[in-house]
């Protein structure tokens, strides 16, 4: 293919070369066709001037030189003129010109009486003949001269050399000079032909390049158009442009483009835009809405490149139809919006589910707790404990699923508060001490002396990880011990990389299962769930929490001997260590007695009953209403120390009721309002506080939590009242 193409190019090069040569030869023929009569007339004029008369004694007559110049000059000139005019470009013509030119030289030399200066006409003529760029032309020219010298040298030597006794070398010398110039000119002709061949080659290459350009433009899938930068007139265009502009197979080349047609930046005319492109000298790529001649529109990406066309500033525009792309982009945007909406709906669903599940769970756990406090026989106590355990397990599962959803959605947020590491860990372990003791497992905590405990972070999330790991340890250890140790891997003035390890002597984990233990819904093996329960989300959540706190998590385990789960967290150190431990609601003993009157605002009858019973058990007087509006009415009728406010209720929800209470100028305007809601997602607490509530307890509500928060806020109220008094 390449060879064939090259052969085609070579053939074309040869054709162009011949055309260029032929053009030059024809031009030279025309030149000689003019030069010949000029020389003829010159010869006649020369004869008339130099030798007008011939004298014979006292009689004169026209000198034979005049007749010679006229007639011999005509005999030489006219045939040469004729072939120059009617047979240009032919080899015979060139030969004729060469011979005629040399004969003219001979005639002129004779007419001037053999002046040496006239001999230069010979050399000038040879140079003129070199214009043919054909060394063959020089051969007959030189031949005529050499033949003239040889013949006359042989028969009339005195006419050439002025002497009858002439050595042969003089004829050769004369001929040698002519041959020398002929050789030089022949060499020049050859080099000139090489130059012409190079020009031909470049011309063919240029033609091929232009053809490639033309084909690429013509066949381009993009519309390509050349626009006059000043007049915005279409100078050249391809088929695609015609289709884009007119939706037809043809278009007008003199079309004047307008801003309304090609779109583009607002507030800038098309002329100004093109002038800016030309002025900057750099290509500009933009997207715009293009209006066709039939009024329909398409979206295009337009590349404008400054160029020149016939000496005028122009812009080369490549226009790519991106209508489909834009449509796809719009579809993608719609899909993205749908995905975002789906995520929002999912979050909303989770919130609703959380609320809907926690509401009955509150009833179950609350009632179970209250039932447990009533006089029961041992079997009934066993049944109630089983119910409580099941309810708490279900709650744990719900919490895990919610946490995992938040992790997956990337919506997990972390607090950054001052906390004491020791208290956080001890608090976590306290929750398992009773369980561990029941199994005969010592549960110990050892914190290295070099571990800074005054830290900044999210103690809740840290406790969540520790609770998960310790909970697992307790769950999977039948005998032996559980030890929690804390060391500092790296500390600086500002930060501490804390390493926490939970070592147990439990069943251990097979090596094959260790690799994917931190993946979601994974446990050591399928039987684990059946035997020990759990969702398999705990370690996955823990890993994500640890990673988000800048640490890593891992384990070392030998099946049958036990496991050590460890994690690190990168925490900031407090600039000013806490002088006292943060206030933590002290666990309230069931026998604790409080005083005061509490209004319970709860639409669910069961939960209403649970709350009233829990408050009664705490020694509080309590009333219950079903919505916010009834709450306001109740507050108007009686004095209360605190309001336990559900958030989602019919008629008037807790947020609106709180805002209404805070907005009144009544005595209860500043009453303590504690949200009691099944909304457990992040942000719910903030929303409650933003509505004007003082605190927040989430359902299922535990008696201790309620007692702590009531004690806190009734004490605050009394304090205020005392100060007010």
């Amino acid at each position: 293919m390449t060879t064939r193409l090259q052969a085609s190019l070579d053939e074309r090069t040869e054709t162009v070369f011949e055309q260029l040569l032929q053009r030059g030869m024809r031009r030279a023929d025309r030149l000689f066709a003019v030069l010949m009569p000029a020389q003829w007339l010159f010869g006649v004029a020369l004869a008339l001037w130099l030798s007008p008369w011939s004298w014979n004694a006292a009689e004169r007559s026209v000198h034979p030189h005049v007749w010679t110049a006229i007639f011999l000059g005509a005999a030489i000139t006219l045939p040469a003129m004729a072939v120059g005019i009617w047979m240009p470009g032919r080899l015979a013509t060139r030969y004729t010109m060469a011979v005629a030119q040399m004969l003219i030289s001979a005639l002129l030399i004779h007419l001037t009486g053999g002046r040496i200066e006239t001999h230069f006409h010979v050399f000038g003529s040879l140079a003129f003949l070199a214009l043919y760029r054909d060394w063959r032309v020089l051969v007959p020219a030189a031949g005529v001269i050499i033949a003239d010298h040889l013949l006359r040298g042989a028969f009339w030597p005195q006419s050439v050399f002025g002497d009858v006794d002439v050595a042969v070398w003089r004829a050769l010398e004369h001929a040698g000079w002519v041959l020398f110039e002929t050789a030089v000119l022949a060499g020049a002709c050859r080099r000139t032909r090489e130059d012409i061949r190079l020009i031909a080659s470049n011309t063919v290459e240029l033609e091929a390049s232009r053809e490639r350009y033309r084909a690429s433009v013509a066949e381009s899938a993009n519309a390509i158009v050349l626009i006059d930068a000043q007049t915005c007139q279409v100078l050249e265009f391809n088929q695609r442009w015609a289709e884009e502009v007119t939706s037809q197979a043809s278009s007008r080349s003199n079309l004047i483009l307008t801003k309304a047609m090609v779109g583009g930046p607002e507030g800038q005319s098309l002329e100004d835009e093109l002038a800016e492109v030309v002025g900057n000298g750099r290509p500009v790529i933009s997207q715009r809405r293009f209006t066709r001649l039939d009024g329909s529109t398409i979206d295009v990406q337009c590349s404008l490149t400054p160029t020149m066309f016939a000496g005028r500033a122009a812009v080369f525009a490549v226009i790519h139809d991106i209508t489909k792309l834009k449509r796809i982009e719009a579809d993608l945007a719609a899909a993205r919006d749908m995905a975002v909406e789906s995520a929002r709906l999912k979050s909303e669903f989770l919130a609703n589910m959380s609320h809907e599940i926690r509401t009955p769970m509150n009833g179950i756990i609350g009632m179970t707790g209250l039932l447990r406090e009533t006089p029961l026989d041992p079997q009934q106590i066993e049944f109630v404990d089983a119910m409580a355990s099941s309810a708490n397990g279900l709650l744990t599962i719900i919490n895990d699923i919610l946490d995992f959803s938040k992790v997956e959605a990337g919506k997990l947020e972390f607090d950054s508060v001052d906390f004491d590491l020791r208290e956080a860990l001890e608090g976590s372990l306290d929750l398992f001490k009773e369980t561990a003791a029941a199994k005969g497992l010592p549960l110990t905590l050892a914190i290295g002396s070099d571990v800074p405990t005054a830290l900044v972070g999210d103690p809740g999330r840290l406790r969540q990880v520790v609770l998960n790991l310790v909970g697992n340890a307790v769950k999977f250890t039948a005998r032996g011990s559980i030890a929690v140790s804390v060391t500092a891997e790296q500390t600086s003035a500002d930060r501490a990389l804390v390493h926490v390890a939970v070592r147990d002597t439990g069943i251990g984990i097979p090596a094959a299962a260790q690799g994917h233990l931190f993946e979601a819904f994974r446990q050591a093996d399928g039987s684990t769930t059946r035997k020990y329960g759990g969702t398999g989300l705990g370690l996955a959540i823990s890993r994500r929490l640890v990673e988000l706190m800048g640490g890593t998590i891992g384990l070392d385990s030998v099946e049958g001997l036990g496991s050590t789960f460890w994690f690190t967290v990168d925490l900031a150190r407090q600039r000013t260590p806490m002088t006292a431990a943060p206030v933590r609601p002290a666990p309230v003993a069931p026998t604790r007695r409080l005083h005061g009157r509490v209004l319970v605002v709860e639409d669910n009858a069961v939960n209403q009953k649970v709350a009233l019973l829990q408050l009664k058990k705490l020694g509080l007087t309590a009333d219950a209403v079903a919505d916010g509006r009834e709450a306001i009415t109740a507050l108007d009728r009686a004095a209360y120390d605190l309001v336990l406010m559900d958030c989602q209720m019919p008629v008037m929800d807790g947020f609106e009721a709180t805002r209404a209470i805070r907005a009144t100028a009544s005595a209860y305007q500043h009453i303590a309002i504690v949200a009691m809601t099944a909304n457990a997602l992040k942000g719910d607490r903030e929303e409650c506080l933003a509505a004007g509530m003082n605190d927040y307890v989430s359902k299922p509500v535990k008696v201790d939590d309620v007692a702590a928060v009531i004690e806190k806020w009734t004490a605050t109220s009394r304090g205020k009242a005392t100060r007010a008094a």
């Binding site: 011939s54 004298w55 004969l103 002046r115 005195q158 050399f161």
Partner: protein
């Protein structure tokens, strides 16, 4: 017309052309190379003629005032005069017996001769000097030694009005250099009034 026929025609035309032109050149050269009548030169310097310089050889060239060939002859004489300055006395005799010296061509000739250093102009108004020397054709040149004996008689151009090396000039040069030389050479020029028509 076939290609071969066309070529044949071109070749034939070219041949005819060359023949015609060749004949023209041959005629031209024939005219140019045809010499005039030889002179009946006086073997000794004519005593009745103008003063002979006995101190050196005397060269006398006779010219027709209107003949264009005289330019070439004067060119050669000028060269000899310059080459043998101080060794040669040169006379240019212009035969004005028939045409006078009033024409532009004659005036240019006389002016030219007067401007030639070492050349003495003799305007022969009645043609007697020409007759004494026996010249018949313009351009005829005679060289006499210091004793008045004729050493050379003939023309000093190679052909009609053609400057350049020629047998006559070369012979004169040899005589003056005491070398063997041809005593005569063809003379090319217009017939003198007393020389007879050619």
């Amino acid at each position: 017309m076939t290609l071969r026929a066309g070529r044949s025609l071109i070749c034939a035309g070219f041949g005819v052309w060359i023949i015609v032109v060749g004949a023209g050149f041959a005629a031209m050269w024939r005219y140019a190379m045809t010499p005039g009548l030889a002179a009946s030169a006086a073997a000794r310097w004519p005593s009745a003629s103008f003063a002979f310089d006995r101190t050196r050889p005397n060269l006398v060239t006779v010219l027709h005032p209107e003949c264009v060939c005289s330019k070439a002859t004067l060119e050669e004489i000028s060269r000899l005069s310059a080459e043998f300055a101080g060794q040669l006395t040169v006379f240019a005799v212009v035969d004005a017996s028939a045409t006078g010296t009033g024409s532009a061509e004659a005036t240019r000739l006389l002016t030219r001769v007067r401007a030639m250093p070492g050349v003495r102009l003799i305007v022969d108004r009645d043609g007697r000097e020409v007759e004494r020397f026996g010249a018949k054709v313009s351009g005829q040149t005679f060289l006499y030694d210091r004793d008045g004996r004729l050493q050379f008689s003939g023309g000093v151009t190679m052909s009609r009005g053609h400057v350049g090396p020629n047998a006559g000039t070369e012979a004169i040069r040899h005589v003056l250099q005491s070398k063997p030389a041809a005593p005569t050479a063809a003379v090319f020029g217009c017939a003198l009034p007393r020389g007879g028509r050619v």
